[in-house]
C-alpha cells in the first residue's frame, strides 16, 4: 500500500464524520430485513429498496461524499500542496486516491446491497448487485474525483448530475439514460442475475463499454488536470 493511499485512508477515517456514512447502508439492510420478516412479496419491496434506495440514492451519495473527499478535502484546506511538491508522477497520486475511493464506496454499498439482494431473491442476485455496484462505484468515483479537480464546487456539480440529470431528467426524458451510471449498474446487475426486480433501459454492451469509458476517461482527465493544477485561494 503506497503512502498516498495510506494518507487518503487516514484523511477519510481520521475524523468522526465518516460515521455519517453509516446510516445509509444500515437503513437499506434494515428495510430489507423488515420487509422479509413481515412476509411482503419481493416483487413489491424489491424495486423501492434495491433500486430506489440502494442504486439511486446510497451508491451515488456515498460515492459523491467519498469521491470528492479524497482529493477535494485536501484542495479545500490547502494541504494538497504537500503532496504536489513531492517528486511523484501525477498518476501515482490520482490512482491510489481513486483506488481508495472505489474500495471504500464499494464496500459501503456492495455489502448491504448483497444482503438485500440475498433476502429479495437469491444469492445470485445479491452477488450480481454487489458486482454491479462495485463497477458503479469505480465509475462514480472516477467522475467525482475528476470533478473535484475541474471545479471548486465539486459536490454541487456532482449533485446536479445525480439529482437533476439521473433523477429528474432520467425519469422524464428517457434518452438521457444512455449517459447515466445508475442505468448501467441496473443493466449489468440484471444481466448477471436475470430477475423481474430490475429493469435496465440500456443494452448490456452499451452499459459495459460506457462504464469502462467513463472510468478510464475521467481518470485520464484527472491525471491531466493535476499536471497543471494551480493552487488558488477561495474566491467566491
Amino acid at each position: 500500500m503506497s503512502t498516498v493511499s495510506w494518507l487518503t485512508l487516514r484523511g477519510l477515517f481520521g475524523r468522526r464524520r465518516f460515521l455519517l456514512l453509516l446510516p445509509l447502508p444500515v437503513v437499506l439492510v434494515g428495510l430489507a430485513v423488515l420487509s422479509r420478516w413481515l412476509g411482503v412479496t419481493p416483487r413489491d419491496w424489491g424495486p423501492p429498496v434495491l433500486v430506489g434506495l440502494g442504486l439511486a440514492v446510497v451508491l451515488p451519495v456515498v460515492a459523491l461524499i467519498v469521491g470528492t473527499g479524497v482529493l477535494g478535502a485536501e484542495i479545500d484546506d490547502g494541504t494538497v500542496v504537500h503532496i504536489l511538491t513531492k517528486p511523484l508522477p501525477r498518476w501515482q497520486i490520482v490512482l491510489p486516491k481513486l483506488a481508495v475511493a472505489t474500495a471504500v464506496t464499494g464496500v459501503t454499498v456492495a455489502v448491504p446491497l448483497c444482503a438485500a439482494g440475498l433476502l429479495a431473491d437469491s444469492a445470485r442476485l445479491g452477488l450480481a448487485l454487489a458486482a454491479a455496484s462495485a463497477v458503479g462505484a469505480l465509475a462514480y468515483s472516477a467522475l467525482f474525483l475528476a470533478l473535484s479537480l475541474l471545479t471548486r464546487r465539486p459536490v454541487l456539480l456532482g449533485l446536479v448530475y445525480v439529482l437533476i440529470w439521473e433523477g429528474l431528467l432520467g425519469s422524464v426524458v428517457s434518452g438521457t439514460r444512455v449517459l447515466s451510471i445508475q442505468q448501467y449498474v441496473i443493466t449489468l446487475a440484471d444481466r448477471i442475475a436475470p430477475t423481474d426486480l430490475l429493469l435496465g433501459d440500456v443494452s448490456v454492451p452499451v452499459a459495459a463499454s460506457m462504464s469502462a469509458l467513463i472510468s478510464v476517461g475521467f481518470t485520464v482527465l484527472a491525471i491531466d488536470r493535476l499536471r497543471s493544477f494551480s493552487v488558488a485561494g477561495e474566491t467566491s
Binding site: 455519517l20 429498496v49 430506489g52 434506495l53 461524499i65 467566491s236
Partner: protein, 293 residues
C-alpha cells in the same frame, strides 16, 4: 527618580454619537443578508450559478406549463402539484443555500464577532432560518405566480375567472410556505452540524433522499394503518399529507386524489409541527455552545 516623560497625545479619536440600532436592526440585517446570500446576490458570479440554475429551471417549467395551458385550455398541473413535482429541485436548492448560510460562518470562525454585538444567541439561527424559508417560499411561489398571471390573462370569463384563479393560487402559496418551513428547518439543522460546505450539502441530500424510498417500502407493507402512516417517513410526503388534509379540496380537484392518508390527517399535522419545532430546538441548542470552542 527621573520625571516621567511620556505624553498622551490627542490623536482625534471620537466617540460615536449617532443613533444606536438595537436588536431588531441586527436581526433585520442578518435576515436580509441571509436572503441575499441564498440567491448569491452581492457575491461573485460563481456563487450565483447554482441558485439561479434552480430558479431558471423552475421558472422555465412554470412558463412551459402556462404556455401549454394557454394552448389546450386546461391545466396540466395544479399549483400544489407543481410544488410537489419540484421537490428534487427544492432539495438541491436547500443543499446549495443552507451551507452558504451557516457552514461558512462556522468554518471561518466569525461567530464570536457576531455574538459580541447586542444579538441574543437565539436570534442568529432564527434569522438564518427565516431567510432560508423565505428564499424557498420565493422559489416555489414565484413560478406559481407566473402560472397565475398566464392563467389570469388567458381566462375567458373576465374578472370572475381571475378571482377564481386567485382563490386557487392563495392556498397553494400557503402550501408552498409549509414546504419552505419544513425543508428549511431540516436542512439548516443538518448544515449547522459541519463547517465544511461539501459535507453539509452531501448530508442534506442524503437525509432528504434516503427517506423517500422508506415511504415506498412502508406503503407496500401488509397493514393498512402502516400504509396510511407511511408518508410520515419523508419530509416531502409529510408536507403532501398535511396539505391534502388541511387544504384538501382547495389543492386538488375532485378527479385527482391527494396523498392517501385515510383518517390520519391530524397525525400528519402534529408530526409536521413536532418535526419543525424539534429541528428549531436542536438548532438553538447547537448555537448555544457552538462559538465557545
Amino acid at each position: 527618580m527621573p520625571e516621567p516623560t511620556g505624553v498622551i497625545h490627542d490623536i482625534g479619536y471620537q466617540r460615536y454619537t449617532g443613533p444606536r440600532l438595537g436588536r431588531r436592526a441586527v436581526f433585520g440585517a442578518l435576515y436580509l443578508h441571509g436572503l441575499r446570500t441564498a440567491f448569491g446576490l452581492g457575491r461573485s458570479a460563481k456563487a450565483k450559478i447554482f441558485p439561479w440554475l434552480v430558479v431558471g429551471i423552475v421558472t422555465a417549467v412554470a412558463a412551459a406549463l402556462t404556455a401549454i395551458r394557454a394552448q389546450i385550455g386546461e391545466a396540466v398541473m395544479t399549483y400544489a402539484q407543481f410544488a410537489d413535482n419540484m421537490s428534487w429541485l427544492v432539495i438541491f436548492f436547500v443543499a446549495v443555500a443552507a451551507p452558504e448560510l451557516v457552514s461558512r460562518d462556522l468554518r471561518s470562525g466569525v461567530l464570536p464577532l457576531y455574538f459580541s454585538r447586542p444579538l441574543p444567541r437565539a436570534d442568529y439561527p432564527l434569522a438564518k432560518l427565516l431567510a432560508l424559508a423565505t428564499a424557498l417560499w420565493l422559489l416555489l411561489g414565484g413560478p406559481q405566480f407566473v402560472m397565475f398571471l398566464g392563467a389570469a390573462f388567458s381566462t375567458g370569463d373576465g374578472m370572475s375567472g381571475v378571482a377564481e384563479e386567485l382563490l386557487d393560487l392563495l392556498p397553494s402559496l400557503l402550501y408552498a410556505g409549509l414546504w419552505a418551513v419544513v425543508f428549511a428547518s431540516v436542512g439548516l439543522l443538518v448544515a449547522s452540524l459541519t463547517g465544511k460546505r461539501a459535507f453539509a450539502a452531501g448530508g442534506i441530500v442524503a437525509v432528504f433522499l434516503m427517506t423517500t424510498p422508506i415511504v415506498g417500502t412502508l406503503s407496500v407493507m401488509p397493514s393498512r394503518t402502516v400504509n396510511e402512516l407511511a408518508f410520515l417517513a419523508s419530509p416531502s410526503t409529510l408536507v403532501g399529507g398535511v396539505g391534502s388534509w388541511a387544504l384538501g379540496d382547495l389543492l386538488v380537484s375532485e378527479d385527482q386524489r391527494g396523498v392517501p392518508i385515510g383518517g390520519f390527517g391530524p397525525v400528519y399535522a402534529v408530526v409536521a409541527v413536532l418535526l419543525v419545532s424539534g429541528c428549531v430546538a436542536l438548532l438553538l441548542r447547537r448555537y448555544r455552545k457552538v462559538a465557545a470552542r
